[in-house]
Symmetry: C2
């Protein structure tokens, strides 16, 4: 069987080599018990291996509170590996291994998991995305170019009928994709069965009239029974997507939903800031999204360029490229569709194409579509025109000369971008 | 229906009141869409409410990287509330609400969720622990005093037969509880079915001979199918406990396991440091453990006093008291059993009784039992004698005068504690 490799950025009050050995010991056979004659053999068979230690910096104070006192704190990168034999090709157990009881170690004063790689055993043991990019394009009827989407607003508070009215306006505007806000759950104020019923009548009627079926990601986040019921309600009504907040359900929930269902799973990352906001503790999305693709996510949120949150653009770019990168050198790619959102308008589209290195993505704009001065239809058109400009290698102002919706978007949203 | 209340510590480049309003807006109806005549009504019905804002400190620099520049950063506490109508009594959706897209907000430069309270609807909607303190005592046959436990070491690398040999030594030593290391999963090197078979033969034989059935928490962490199979294997062999790493399976996995199974669920918190290590980002265990008790955890790890990790004792104490506190004023207590571990010996037992305010806890000692100079039996005895001393209000040195095992523990481990 193969090995799991994990790379970390860390800071330590002891030498980096020593910290790497402590982590490797703690996260594998770490033992004080001497089994006569067996310890060396056992370590060789089961122990984690320190593959590389790279010192990058030395600081005079710890970045996080640290019990071990020191005059200098080494900062750098380490790479460890583990044999799959000990934990088996099981995502939750890999997570316990590469991101378990190590963030609290006294020997580290900062620790971030940067990347992880899975050996081929995981390609057969894990379901992976059932739809990914190609399946999503097929269901949306969008052969090329980015998928243009939006989020139903207000986030919560609409009745099922009001929700359907918003969806109708968006469908008429030519949108490809609509998602629930992650706060819109299955509460008494707007129960999922009624919401699905009203919304899918609109979507199905629109599809009958125009041939275009808008993909609506209904938020079915809940316990497993709730998610299964929600999925089945969506499918029975002719829906083509379900959404879950991945951190709220967890890896076992995602895998179980994937194995139960047969609709694309739109994975929202509400709560992600907890993993990413501090430069000193957390997990990189480059590593994190791999777990969720293996578990079955088809769409993965990556924030947006120039977003309203705190994430810089280079981090968004790295996340998007990671979501589109094959998971295995030999084997299934398991690629998912990156979802850009937060403060998006036509103006970010060319940069987003460049960031993703592809137009295989979904971009959700709220104000950029609903707040477009020409209305929703013009808002959607402006996003598509911006994607055309990118495909043609033309600047947005040039392309806007023949494209009114894009010109309006530049006039309305340009100042915000400057 | 009732309301969810959540309390946060936060730091902000804008006024705390403003930050509280942004969070309340973002995490509820947060809308730019004007529905004619309805917005005020909708906000009143569905919006989050800022219940309290308390300024505690002002700092001149942001604690975490922050896009909004400012000359001062207010730090304090806020309390928000949400109507249950919008999300329903659903744990994953409460989590998306109180710990969703808010850690990344530009208006905060530090944010920790300190506490959350659930209205009575959750008492009937959530399963809660099936065994808790009373059920665990009954299965272990320990009517009073702390449960004395240990962890199988080496963490990984033992065969099923070697594991059973370790368990046999521990059972003969009079231990109440034994747990797998969280790194011991169901890998080819030590498959769960064989491990359960060998270990339970030892446990059942010991119970037949002595009347005492040791509780062994077998780690069944995995996807839901794996956990169900693992649970059923343990139960069929006469086992009385299963263990999961809660962060690795997620809330939906925990609830599904609870609804499937009929054994106590020992919840390991591997990865917890990610939520707790930074003073500027994360979730307090006081808040966090409530989600897991509602989902069905019977035992919850709280670290140990004088532990080898980075958590200070006051935080461990707060966690333990929280795990034992009733979840509802009127309704089921849903109390779980706190599990102390990490560098524990007889010497920490009286302090632990004081910290928990009770002897309804499980304390797992590794070196303190296996490394006891009188052997495993004396190690276990030393822990019980220390608990007796606490119950009698006697000092350990006093009580050690008539209790050899305790005297040996003080001699062997006393220096470490000083």
């Amino acid at each position: 069987m193969g090995r799991i490799y994990a790379e970390y950025e860390l800071e330590s009050p002891v030498a980096l080599e020593r910290a790497a050995e402590v982590i490797a010991g703690e996260q594998s056979s770490g033992t004080f018990l001497k089994l006569p004659g067996e310890t060396d053999d056992l370590r060789a068979r089961s122990g984690a291996v320190v593959e590389r230690v790279e010192l990058l910096d030395t600081r005079s104070a710890p970045s996080l509170p640290c019990r071990i006192e020191s005059e200098s704190f080494q900062r750098g990168r380490i790479r460890l590996s583990w044999p799959v034999e000990t934990m088996g090709p099981s995502l939750p157990n890999v997570l316990a291994t590469v991101a378990g009881n190590l963030f609290e170690l006294a020997e580290v004063s900062a620790l971030r998991l940067l990347d992880v790689s899975f050996p081929p055993e995981f390609a057969s043991a894990c379901p992976g995305p059932a739809f990914g990019v190609a399946g999503t394009r097929r269901l949306c009827g969008v052969e090329s170019g980015p998928l243009i989407g939006t989020i139903i607003k207000p986030s919560v508070g609409l009745t099922p009928d009001q929700t359907a009215d918003v969806v109708e306006d968006l469908a008429r505007g030519g949108i490809d994709f609509i998602k629930d806000d992650e706060l819109q759950a299955n509460g008494p104020a707007c129960p999922l069965p009624e919401r699905v019923d009203r919304v899918m009548r609109v979507v199905n009627d629109h599809a009958d009239r125009t041939g275009k079926k808008v993909m609506v990601a209904f938020n079915i986040t809940g316990d497993l029974d709730e998610m299964r019921r929600g999925h089945d309600i969506v499918r029975a009504a002719g829906g083509t997507c379900v959404m879950v907040s991945m951190h709220c359900i967890g890896l076992a929930g995602m895998t179980a939903l994937r194995r139960h269902g047969d609709l694309p799973i739109h994975a929202h990352r509400a709560g992600w800031g907890l993993f990413s906001r501090s430069p000193d503790i957390g997990i990189s999305y480059v590593a994190w999204q791999k777990f969720w693709r293996l578990a079955g996510a088809d769409h993965l949120h990556v924030n947006g360029l120039g977003n309203k949150f705190s994430e810089p653009d280079d981090s968004v770019t790295a996340s998007a490229k990671a979501v589109l990168s094959p998971l295995f050198d030999d084997g299934p790619a398991f690629e998912a569709m990156p979802v850009f959102s937060s403060g998006q308008t036509a103006l970010q589209v060319p940069g987003t194409v460049a960031a993703a290195g592809s137009d295989d993505f979904l971009i959700c704009a709220g104000g950029g579509i609903i707040g477009h001065p020409g209305g929703i239809g013009a808002g959607v058109a402006s996003m598509r025109q911006a994607a055309e400009a990118a495909a043609l290698g033309r600047s947005l102002p040039d392309h806007a000369q023949q494209n009114e919706a894009l010109a309006q978007a530049i006039a309305a949203f340009g100042k915000r971008m400057a």
